[in-house]
């Protein structure tokens, strides 16, 4: 039964991915990317990774779709197409890379295999000792916030840096201008969101 769900979801994912590549209407492409994220979230849920699914649904299907739409409202909603001549060498390179990646997956342990190396490095320690050392029922939170606190600290710093970058690119000039001309009388902006 669970295999059927996997197959259906993965088929939908592949179909949507191909549709996104072929679409020239960027608005529709953004919507499909939201659906792609939602399907990924469903897949993560089926694989019992609810925390990841939660993040994917909130970020991928929610906020990033909104940000994409905000970007589209600043630019155009249709892709400017320019057909280049077909390049056989590029196709060969892509197919070879894809084949190598598929070949590499044969060496990977089966999905959910309890004997896989990844489950025996530090996972045993986490599973056995989280209750005594951290005392938090949600093991994912214990790992993310405590055992791997450095990583999460770094991730938060990355988000902070991204925001600073966007501020510099989109809002920095204006803020600097305001700061320089603070004493001068400037009219309040009267624009409203659409």
């Amino acid at each position: 039964m669970i295999d059927v769900i996997h197959i259906v979801l993965f088929t939908f994912l592949a179909v949507i991915a191909i549709a996104i590549i072929r679409l020239r209407d960027l608005f529709a492409a953004v919507m499909l990317m939201g659906i792609f994220s939602l399907l990924s979230a469903s897949l993560f849920t089926v694989m019992d990774a609810v925390d990841v699914a939660f993040t994917e649904a909130a970020v991928g299907a929610g906020v990033s779709t909104i940000l994409m739409l905000a970007t589209l409202s600043l630019t155009h909603s249709s892709e400017s197409t320019r057909y280049a001549r077909p390049r056989p060498m590029a196709l060969v390179a892509v197919v070879l890379t894809g084949a190598a990646l598929v070949y590499a997956t044969f060496d990977m342990p089966r999905y959910g295999d309890p004997a896989a190396p990844i489950h025996h490095h530090v996972a045993d320690h986490y599973i056995e000792d989280t209750d005594d050392e951290i005392g938090v029922p949600n093991m994912v939170t214990a790992i993310l916030a405590s055992y791997r606190g450095y990583d999460t600290w770094g991730e938060t710093a990355v988000i902070f840096t991204a925001c600073v970058g966007v501020m510099m690119l989109l809002g920095g000039a204006r803020t600097f201008y305001r700061w320089r001309h603070r004493e001068e009388d400037e009219p309040e902006e009267a624009g409203e969101a659409s």
């Binding site: 609810v50 925390d51 699914a53 939660f54 993040t55 909130a58 970020v59 929610g62 906020v63 909104i66 940000l67 905000a70 970007t71 409202s73 600043l74 005594d132 050392e133 951290i134 005392g135 938090v136 029922p137 949600n138 994912v140 939170t141 214990a142 993310l144 916030a145 405590s146 606190g149 450095y150 999460t152 600290w153 991730e155 938060t156 710093a157 988000i159 902070f160 991204a162 925001c163 600073v164 966007v166 501020m167 989109l170 809002g171 000039a173 204006r174 201008y177 902006e189 009267a190 624009g191 409203e192 969101a193 659409s194």
Partner: protein, 141 residues
């Protein structure tokens, strides 16, 4: 500002619930799925929904960009501050066990504060980025 009455009435109803759900995800992250990052994104989404429905200017009056900028840095500093506090109390950086008399209580406290820091930063970042994108092209730069 858009005039769709149904959308605006519904979003008025939904925004408080979304914010409440964000707080639930934030503080229930120790017990169920969720945590600071997800909660921050959900809270940011509530702010974005408000801005979409009632206009950028109204949203900027409720959540002034200056205040959001403060919270962008505050969350990260709260996280780092917990780490420094752990050093001052005799542990390693981000070693929450030293934050309370019992290591497990310290871990609880540390995780709560750290997740709160992540949540504050992420919510403020999401709202700030949306405000910057949405405000682009309608002001004299």
């Amino acid at each position: 500002m858009i005039r769709h009455v149904i959308l605006r009435a519904l979003s008025k109803l939904l925004i408080p619930l979304i914010m409440l759900f964000a707080l639930y995800v934030q503080f229930h992250g120790d017990y169920g799925p969720g945590g600071g990052f997800q909660a921050g994104v959900i809270f940011g989404a509530a702010i974005i929904l408000y801005a979409l429905m009632f206009g950028l200017e109204a949203a900027k009056r409720v959540f002034p960009p200056r205040v959001l900028e403060f919270f962008v840095a505050f969350g990260l500093l709260l996280y780092g501050g917990v780490g420094i506090e752990a050093i001052l109390l005799g542990g390693n950086f981000l070693d929450y066990g030293h934050l309370a008399h019992e290591p497990v209580h310290g871990q609880h406290l540390g995780i709560l504060l750290v997740e709160l820091g992540v949540g504050i930063t992420v919510a403020a970042v999401m709202a700030s980025i949306f405000f910057l994108f949405a405000g682009r092209g309608r002001s004299d730069v």
